[in-house]
């Protein structure tokens, strides 16, 4: 196993190759491109959460001096229903074209209705005010449970629930039912000594990347287009834009800018087809940047949910059955992550009897988008809270209860596959042994534990490794770098080649310069682009050996590559001085031509990542404020290529989870309008809100990757909400079943408990 040998680079912490650009402000993000002749594009958005769009009159806007193009639904051809993967969720082209530009109806406040391109921001804004839209407002529904009731306003007249039998005859707001089950839960509950049943409610939370969506589109008169965009997946953007604009894929070249955060929210298109459409009409480049208000109002948060969880166990802590019913809001179009939510809910546990049912429900809110392990943080939060309650009821330590039931190699998950080697038990055991778990607690303080699981993905990935004449190399990949992956990819290539890591320069190729590569998401980049980089490097090594063989006039299989040098393989091969990569590269032209390695794979065997979190909180009983005092993340990385970036993912995901647990939520008025579309009232954690986040990297290698890598980016956001709820329960004796656990709710519950005690 590769992880047993001593590595030169893997596991070390070299500086990231794009570090200087990022700390000097030189790195170019989506809004940082300025091109000559550029117009500014802006979007007109529906003020109504639900309305028929009877007519749109753009004449006055078009006549305004300085306006060069106006776009409406008339400029986009309708699309047939067609599901395509985008990250870990599926999207439907019929819905994408409608989300990008409303057609029959405005389905949420903020829904794009028209767009203009003008010579300045000010003129573009003025032009929007001149567009006359005739709306017929309709009753709206923003709560998923309410949307499921008979008589609820219907968003899509042709939406018939998928996955139920018999097939309904009437449309509803229920897009789909999914179910994952093993064994017989009824029998399992009957065999239990203790059964706990709880309901939970969560609100939509936004990925809240600091960089808003931005792009620059330029379409020439012959239809060749260039698009510069901040995205997690420029090949996916290309595919969506080509489809929506009726263009050949080869006609659009998409370049990924540096990306200022995505977390799943930049795996879909919003502005990009509009910018291309405007540019095509105007004959000039068009730049579009969302305001922060637009980001919150019109780009997808993740679902809010209503859930019922039921778990039964024997008195010695063996879980006999687990059942979940999950109702997730999809926003205006079908496609909430309820399916992965249902798949992951009980995944940390080896259960004979388990059933998870999920409902995908549309509501008059912005269409949800993926957010870091989409669907799983929500369902696993609910299950991990009930597991904790079960542990309390049985008088068993919460880590011990999890160990008794932990999924291991060979466990069959509720959604089908058997796990290969996994690190849940290791993360639990190390959590129990960690000094954090033994540390003393003071008054009003409590400690909580929770575990989490995400399956991770592989997918289509290309890489190219070019050897330059001086022996330096360029590694070209197709996965945008959202968190420092460039460093890890260079390290893997350098490891294979046996050269210095700074002799590998990473480039994120544009879509015309490298084969199709699926987006950065699903925690797949270090795994998949890593695998491709390793394959490309091995291809190069093979070529280098062949060249040395040619120079030495010995058979190619008599040459081996070691530590950056070609050497004869064994004494029989001959007595030749080893040749360095640089020496062979210098002679490339004379030995057959340029040396370039490449790989084009559909990476399989992504290993899941399990984690366990420990958190200590203190509650101010007079104000309800919850302070996080101490936090430890223990998670299986398989093999940490660059430990600093693995730690960074653990810490970043944990803090997002802390925000989700304590303060983040979408707040709507009864009028169906979002009230907190800004960083003032959409409260993400600030530096003074959190302590240092301690990390422990567990390494149970993934046998399907040459170095044992598992994706790790998503699992860290899964345990925090339950860990904190469990900690608060230990501090106060109050169990919350609603997120966020904000001060007014906590104070109210404290008061109710005191009143009940009197």
């Amino acid at each position: 196993m590769a992880s047993d040998k001593e590595f030169k680079w893997i596991g070390t912490r070299p500086p990231r190759p794009d570090g200087v650009d990022k700390v000097t402000g030189r790195a170019k993000f989506g809004a940082d491109l300025y091109v000559p002749g550029m117009l500014i594009g802006k979007v007109l958005r529906s003020p109504h959460p639900h309305a028929v769009i009877k007519s749109i009159d753009t004449a006055k806007a078009e006549a305004l001096p300085g306006v060069k193009a106006v776009l409406t639904r008339a400029d986009f051809e309708d699309r047939e229903s067609e599901l395509v993967p985008a990250g870990e969720m599926m999207v439907n082209y019929r819905d994408i074209v409608r989300n990008v530009m409303a057609r029959e109806k405005a389905l949420y406040e903020g829904h794009a209705v028209a767009a203009v391109a003008a010579i300045s921001n000010a003129i573009a804004k003025k032009a929007l005010r001149l567009i006359e839209v005739d709306y017929e407002p309709l009753p709206h529904v923003i709560d998923a449970v309410a949307a499921m009731q008979p008589g609820a306003p219907i968003l899509h007249e042709d939406l018939i629930t998928d996955g139920v039998d018999p097939v309904p005859t009437e449309p509803s707001n229920v897009a789909k039912r999914v179910e994952f089950a093993l064994g017989d839960v009824e029998a399992g509950f009957a065999a239990a000594d203790v059964v706990i049943e709880r309901e939970f409610d969560t609100q939509p939370v936004h990925q809240a990347y600091i960089e808003p969506h931005a792009c620059v589109a330029s379409v020439a008169e012959d239809g060749q287009a260039e698009l510069w965009v901040t995205t997690q997946g420029h090949y996916v953007v290309r595919a969506h834009c080509a489809r929506l604009l009726g263009m050949d894929i080869s006609k659009i070249r998409v370049t990924a800018s540096e990306i200022g955060g995505g977390f799943g929210g930049k795996t879909v298109v919003y502005l990009e087809p509009v910018a291309l459409g405007l540019s095509r009409k105007a004959g000039r480049p068009v730049k579009m940047v969302m305001t922060r208000d637009e980001v919150f109002r019109a780009s997808g948060p993740t679902s809010g949910a209503h859930m019922k969880i039921k778990i039964g166990a024997t008195k010695d802590g063996k879980i006999t059955a687990g059942e979940a019913e999950l109702i997730y809001q999809a926003g205006a179009f079908p496609g909430s992550p309820v399916q992965p939510g249902a798949m992951c809910a009980f995944a940390p546990y080896d259960l004979e009897n388990v059933k998870a049912v999920g409902w995908d429900v549309v509501t008059n809110r912005s269409k949800v988008a993926a957010y870091r392990a989409p669907g799983a943080p929500i369902s696993e939060y609910a299950v991990e809270c009930v597991i904790d309650e079960l542990a309390k009821r049985l008088g068993i330590d919460p880590i011990d209860l999890r160990l008794t039931n932990a999924a291991k190699e060979g466990t069959r998950a509720a959604y089908g596959p058997k796990f290969g080697p996994i690190g849940l038990v290791e993360s639990l055991e190390q959590a129990k042994a960690h000094p954090h778990y033994q540390a003393a607690l003071g008054p009003n303080q409590g400690r909580g534990v929770a575990s989490g699981f995400w399956f991770n993905i592989g997918g289509e990935t290309c890489a190219s490794l070019i050897v330059n004449e001086d022996g330096t190399t360029v590694l070209t990949v197709g996965t945008p770098d959202i968190g420092g992956s460039r460093a890890s990819l260079c390290m893997m290539a350098a490891e294979e080649l046996g050269i210095d890591v700074d002799q590998v320069r990473p480039i994120i190729a544009d879509t015309a310069s490298l084969g199709y590569t699926f987006l950065t998401g699903g925690s797949r980049t270090t795994f998949s682009s890593g695998m491709a980089a390793i394959d490309a490097a091995r291809d190069v090594v093979q070529q280098l050996c062949e060249r040395a063989a040619k120079i030495w006039e010995i058979p190619a299989d008599a040459v081996e590559w070691e530590d950056g040098y070609a050497r004869p393989a064994g004494a029989n091969a001959g007595n030749f001085e080893p040749m360095s990569l640089a020496e062979i590269a210098a002679m490339a032209g004379k030995t057959g031509g340029p040396i370039v390695g490449h790989a084009q794979i559909n990476a399989q065997g992504a290993g899941p990542s399990f984690g366990t979190h420990l958190v200590d909180v203190e509650v101010d009983r007079e104000t309800g404020r919850v302070t996080v005092l101490r936090y430890t993340v223990l998670q299986d990385a398989g093999k940490a290529i660059h430990p600093s970036y693995v730690e960074g993912q653990f810490q970043g995901g944990a803090v997002q989870g802390i925000g989700w647990a304590l303060n983040e939520e979408y707040i709507y008025g009864a009028d169906g309008k979002l009230e907190n579309a800004g960083f003032l009232d959409y409260r993400i954690p600030v530096a003074s809100d959190v302590p240092m986040i301690d990390t422990v990297i567990v390494e149970v290698p993934n046998p399907r990757h040459p170095y044992g890598v598992r994706g790790i980016g998503e699992t860290p956001i899964i345990p925090p909400m339950a860990a904190i709820a469990n900690a608060i329960e230990n501090a106060l004796g109050i169990r919350f079943s609603e997120l966020p656990m904000s001060p007014p709710k906590v104070l109210k519950a404290i008061g109710e408990m005191a009143a009940a005690a009197e």
């Binding site: 809004a31 540096e258 970043g652």
Partner: protein, 158 residues
């Protein structure tokens, strides 16, 4: 409506530009002067990604009008390194992996520099409260705080 003509000093250089009265310093830096190191995250003073120094004072560029700049001096992230020599904060950020996507990084570096200029030996708590106006969504702040404390120690010669 004719634009306002403004003369000011940016990163030590005398600069002239035209702008509308409602254009902010951030608009001017990015759109007129193409100093794109200062980022626009919210345009309402809530995220700190546009942090600059105005007469040595840490401010959000989105909350200053371009027309206010006559007679003042602005320092942006672009002035933090000197030629090829990075500021200790910049080096420590790379060393500590105190950035992931990097979009908040310029604002945080400018803010951290302002802190260390005023208080060369801050505690962890002081660093966190000083940087509370700089939102980061990627790192969870841990490595950022460590990098600032390490840079401070370095600069004190300890």
């Amino acid at each position: 409506m004719a634009k306002n003509h403004v003369t000011t000093t940016i990163n030590g250089d005398a600069v002239e530009f035209l702008c509308e009265p409602e254009d902010t310093l951030l608009d001017v830096l990015r759109d007129e002067l193409h100093l794109t190191g200062s980022k626009e995250g919210c345009s309402s003073g809530d995220c700190g990604a546009c942090s600059v120094l105005l007469d040595g004072r840490l401010v959000c560029a989105c909350l200053v009008l371009g027309v206010e700049l006559t007679g003042h001096e602005v320092e942006t992230i672009e002035a933090m390194a000197h030629g090829e020599v990075l500021h200790p904060l910049q080096s420590k950020f790379i060393e500590h992996a105190a950035l992931q996507c990097g979009v908040c990084t310029p604002g945080i570096l400018v803010a951290a520099k302002a802190l260390l200029d005023k208080n060369p030996d801050p505690s962890e708590t002081e660093v966190r409260y000083w940087l509370a106006g700089n939102l980061c969504r990627c790192t969870g702040y841990d490595k950022i705080v460590r990098a600032v404390l390490d840079a401070a120690a370095d600069m004190r010669g300890s």
